[in-house]
Each structure stands twice: as structure tokens, then as C-alpha cells.
């Protein structure tokens, strides 16, 4: 039950884009075309889940027992950078076509705040291993969902009926704000069920 709460929490209630503001640069970057969203989204989900799975044992078996928690930022980001590099090499070997499709997005994942963000949040929330992995997956999936919805909206926005000053990024931000407003409706979702 708690895993379900973490899943729904990460995807809807505390959506990584609309509630936590994590992973915004690529959010605006890839959402002008729906096709690019699928590639980036899949990559994000994959890396956030894996990053959570790897950083958890690093934190709990390496850093914490040695009282080295202050090295968390340095170690985590290095782990993520290495992970992304590894994933890129593996995909290139295993499926060159997939690599051609995803290739340019993977290196960008190292600086995607959502990836490091989810790893750090797993620690501050005190999650166990399974919970961390679920949370990682939820964060990435929520990112994917948000970007996908947003791309759908953006495809229909731009046009002559938008004032010149608003075209491009400004109206995109306003649209994102409206989507964030909609997602606020999920707040208190579980409270409502339990109360």
C-alpha cells in the first residue's frame, strides 16, 4: 500500500515538474515536438530508476557507515554521470537504431535535476531500497507524463493568435502554469481517501 502511495505521489501528487520544479530545462527543450518527448521520456524514466537503485546501496553501505554523508553530492553526481555514460555505451552496442533515436538525449540526463533530485529525495525521505526504486520510477514517469501532456498543449498553441511578445517561451510558461494549476487538484488525494 505504501509503495502504491509513493508511486501515485511521485507521478501525480508531487509531480516532478509541476510540483517540484525538477527537470525543467529539458522539459521546455524537448516539448516542442511530440516525437522527441517519447525518446527523452523513456531515457529519463530508465535513468531515474537505475540511479535510485544504484545510489541507495552507495549511500547505505558506503557513505553512511563511514560517516561520509557530506560526500553525497560529489559521489551521487559522479555515479549518475558514470551511469549515463554506461547506459549510452550499452545502448550503442545492443541496439544502434535505439541509440540513434535516443543518443542525443542521454548525455543531457547528467544535468537533469530530476535525476539527481530523485536520488537526493530518496535519502531525505528515508526510503528503503524498494521504496527508492519505486520513487525513482515514479519521478521519471511523472516527468514523462508532464512533458507529454505539455508537448500536446504546445503543439496547438503557437500561431498568429498569440501576441508577438508572448510567442515561444512566454506562452509556454503560462501554459505550464495552467497545467501546474490542474495538477494541484491531486494534492490531498490520499488525505481525502483516508479522512
Amino acid at each position: 500500500m505504501e509503495l502504491f502511495a509513493i508511486l501515485i505521489g511521485g507521478i501525480l501528487i508531487n509531480n516532478y515538474i509541476f510540483a517540484r520544479f525538477l527537470g525543467l530545462c529539458p522539459f521546455f527543450g524537448v516539448s516542442n515536438k511530440l516525437e522527441t518527448v517519447y525518446g527523452m521520456g523513456a531515457a529519463v524514466v530508465f535513468v531515474t530508476t537505475l540511479a535510485s537503485a544504484i545510489t541507495w546501496p552507495v549511500q547505505h553501505y558506503l557513505l553512511a557507515p563511514q560517516k561520509l554523508e557530506y560526500l553525497q553530492t560529489i559521489v551521487f553526481i559522479l555515479v549518475i554521470a558514470a551511469l549515463v555514460q554506461l547506459v549510452e555505451m550499452v545502448i550503442q552496442k545492443v541496439s544502434p537504431s535505439l541509440h540513434a533515436a535516443l543518443g542525443i538525449y542521454l548525455p543531457l540526463l547528467t544535468t537533469n535535476c530530476a535525476v539527481l533530485g530523485v536520488a537526493l529525495l530518496n535519502v531525505t525521505e528515508g526510503y528503503g531500497f524498494v521504496e527508492s526504486v519505486v520513487n525513482g520510477f515514479a519521478g521519471g514517469a511523472g516527468w514523462f507524463l508532464a512533458t507529454w501532456l505539455f508537448a500536446g498543449v504546445r503543439e496547438r498553441i503557437d500561431g498568429p493568435h498569440i501576441p508577438a511578445a508572448m510567442q515561444g517561451l512566454p506562452i509556454a510558461f503560462i501554459a505550464a502554469g495552467l497545467l501546474a494549476l490542474a495538477f494541484m487538484g491531486f494534492q490531498g488525494l490520499f488525505r481525502g481517501l483516508l479522512f
Binding site: 557530506y70 560526500l71 560529489i74 559522479l78 494534492q187 490531498g188 488525505r191 479522512f195
Partner: protein, 184 residues
């Protein structure tokens, strides 16, 4: 090539370790000070606080985190302080609840309600709301839209969930305090 990377990492690690060595004691002292301040605020009659072992809190409500037995100058018990963190609207609401030996709530203090909605749920951190709890006993109930009587508190208008969460935390803290005082 790898040596350069390794060297950079080593220096970075050492720098972080050095900074940690300098700042860690300051941080620890600050946290201890903030805690003592909070404890003294919720139970001013106490001269010292004795932390309660985690085992003694087994079986208490989920929101109860830790507790201290409060003693006066003569080492006589004057009450118990319980730290609780019930789940509010957007996250945990941390609080300290000071309870006197007869089970009456002396003072309660919200340490952080940062995840509650500003202007609504966040109002539980205001003195007006917290002050309601003073003098009440275990089993407090909530009323909305009307003045509270007896063992009741009034919820913040438009923030029933946050108010109820705080109430939960307080009630659990009172129950824990009662059990701890019985045990001694």
C-alpha cells in the same frame, strides 16, 4: 588521464572533508541549542530534560518520534515533552508538546509546517492556533466554524486537513506522555 581525474577527486574529497570538519561541530551545536530552546519553551518549569529511550516509545502512535522526561532543580519530574510529526496536507508537521505530570498540555510548539499551504494550512504555525491547546487534556476534538468549548480546538478556516493533522499529533503525544508518566 585517469590520474588527473583521480587527483581531482582526491583533492575535492579532501576539501569537502576539511569543510566538514570545520562546520560539523557548529551544526551539531546549533541543533542541540535549538532543541533545548524548543524544549524549554514548551515546559518552562523544567530545569533539565532526560531523553527517553526509543524502546519505551514502542507501540505509540506513528507520529510520535521521541520524548524527554522533564525534571526540575530538585530532580523531581515536572512532566514530559514529546516530539511528533504527523502527516499534514503536504508533508510532515513537526511539533513539540509539553505535558505536565497530571496529563495537562502545558504548551505546544510547531517546529515546522513548511509543506502546508501558505495562508491556509500554514496558519497552524501561528500562535493563535497553537495557543488553543494550552490547558487541554487527552482526547481533544475539533470543531469548525464555532468557538471551541471544553476539550476542543477550532480548526483553521479552510484548512481542516492541516488542523486535523496537528490535532492527531497532539493527541498521540498526550497518549505517549500519559504512558511514559505511568511507567515511572
Amino acid at each position: 588521464m585517469v590520474t588527473v581525474l583521480f587527483l581531482v577527486c582526491a583533492v575535492a574529497g579532501l576539501a569537502a572533508a576539511a569543510a566538514n570538519g570545520v562546520t560539523e561541530p557548529i551544526i551539531a551545536q546549533q541543533q542541540a541549542q535549538a532543541l533545548q530552546q524548543g524544549l524549554a519553551e514548551v515546559l518552562p518549569e523544567a530545569a533539565s530534560f532526560d531523553p527517553v529511550a526509543a524502546g519505551e516509545l514502542a507501540g505509540q502512535g506513528e507520529a510520535v518520534l521521541s520524548a524527554w522526561r522533564a525534571l526540575d532543580d530538585g530532580n523531581q519530574p515536572v512532566g514530559v515533552v514529546v516530539e511528533a510529526a504527523p502527516s499534514g496536507y503536504g508533508g510532515p508537521i513537526r511539533m513539540l508538546v509539553g505535558v505536565t505530570t497530571d496529563g495537562t498540555l502545558r504548551t505546544m510548539k510547531i517546529l515546522s509546517a513548511a509543506n502546508e499551504t501558505p495562508g491556509l494550512g500554514a496558519k497552524v504555525a501561528e500562535p493563535a492556533f497553537q495557543g488553543q491547546f494550552t490547558g487541554l487534556k487527552a482526547g481533544i476534538t475539533l470543531v469548525k466554524g464555532q468557538a471551541p468549548t471544553g476539550n476542543q480546538i477550532q480548526a483553521v478556516t479552510g484548512a481542516t486537513i492541516s488542523s486535523r493533522a496537528v490535532l492527531d499529533g497532539v493527541n498521540q503525544a498526550l497518549a505517549a506522555a500519559a504512558q511514559l508518566q505511568e511507567a515511572r
